[in-house]
Symmetry: C2
Subunit: 246 residues, 2 copies
């Protein structure tokens, strides 16, 4: 199957355990990434343990993964490569966060290029010889006293950022609401406040007299700042009617 | 040990396998989160399998985790709670992405409150009865055709966003460079370009004559756009000298 043009490529360099390759495939597919390349997997390829761990991601990711003998060979068609590592300090190279790398990936794709994200073997990580083949370093900012990300987690955070950056900005949360639930309009809120005020007045709630105006104001403000739906307003009317029936 | 004020709390509701509690503890500590609360863990508490999986995170997270019989009880001291779920569509509640939830968490902490992030049991996730106790829903935007995040991965992405948002904006990657490697200045680049141009001229590289100006321009531009250090420039001078020694 041809690789999807422009989609970034995940390169696992000398991965050791099949389970980790499978888990990385799952992490990729969680964020819609399907282009995996493997450099000299320790236990050969295909690997049944990878398939078992990948479960639903086996078909879309593992079955079409390409295997290469060296990292240099795996760079085919890649215009910009990130080496994912917390090390490489002795090499002069720009260091990206996942967020800035995702932005760089979008630029690269927009200008007709294609990015690769290179991950090292589980235990030892990428060697300097690998890192020297990349354009830049990608480092996930973790707690320096406990930087214990495993391979699939590093792939997961990278995939998350790649799809996160593709989402439109979402400054305000969306309100998830069944189709029959629409927000109450201000007149309905006003009538609700009136209803409560009247019944509470009847019940002698606004006491003493001198505090009555501020008590009423606070109560009205309370209703106003609640994000009530039309249905909520009906419920609040209903329970008040019920409470004051006797 | 007293909980750290203002730090968001991770609540695991009816977690099943100790290994997953341990993996969640690791994911938390990766991003500096240490406040875990457990609601009715299936296999009791403490759980040796959780400790084994948490390894380095056992002391800072698991040993101080607090256990509660119900989610309601576990909300002690929490002013704003997110239910982490892809469901709950029948409930009217604001839906946050991890990014907007992290921003909300900062606001809440700044105004003296404290947020909780509630995660459900591994297999079934949070029930509507749990979700109804939260102020809002947090949904990680994953591939709808493969939304297979496990508990520790959901905690990892939440922790990542909480610490990501606390970082200053980083529009440009930082250049990681040993102290003795400083960028070459433009005069050094100019001299390097001159050196190459002279030797290539001697070698008859700029041919035919009519193309010579554009070839020289392209070559000079090549050196100019490389992010060369002073040491790189020395290397490039040295190899040219060596190549033209004979």
């Amino acid at each position: 199957m041809p690789e999807t043009d422009r989609q970034p490529v995940i390169i696992l360099t000398r991965p050791q355990m099949g389970e980790n390759i499978g888990a990385a495939a799952r992490a990729m597919l969680n964020f819609g990434l399907t282009e995996m390349r493997l450099v000299a997997p320790r236990d050969g390829w295909p690997n049944p343990k990878a398939v078992a761990m990948a479960s639903g991601a086996a078909g879309q990711v593992l079955d079409r993964a390409r295997v290469f003998p060296t990292l240099a060979a795996a760079m085919e068609g890649i215009s910009y490569a990130f080496a994912t590592t917390a090390r490489g300090r002795e090499l002069t190279k720009p260091v990206f966060t996942p967020a800035t790398a995702a932005a760089r990936n979008r630029e690269e794709a927009a200008s007709g290029g294609r990015c690769a994200f290179i991950f090292g073997p589980e235990r030892a990580g990428l060697e300097n010889d690998d890192i020297a083949r990349a354009n830049a370093i990608l480092t996930v900012p973790v707690n320096p006293d406990f930087p214990s990300l495993n391979l699939a987690q590093a792939v997961l955070l990278t995939g998350y950022e790649l799809s996160r950056g593709a989402l439109p900005d979402q400054p305000m949360p969306t309100q998830r609401r069944p189709a029959n639930e629409v927000p109450a309009d201000r007149v309905e809120i006003e009538k609700l406040a009136d209803h409560y005020e009247t019944r509470l007045e009847d019940a002698g709630y606004f006491f003493p007299e001198t505090k009555s105006p501020s008590m009423k104001l606070n109560l009205r403000n309370l209703w106003s700042r609640m994000p009530l739906t039309r249905a909520d307003v009906q419920v609040l009317h209903g329970l008040l009617r019920q409470l004051t029936r006797r």
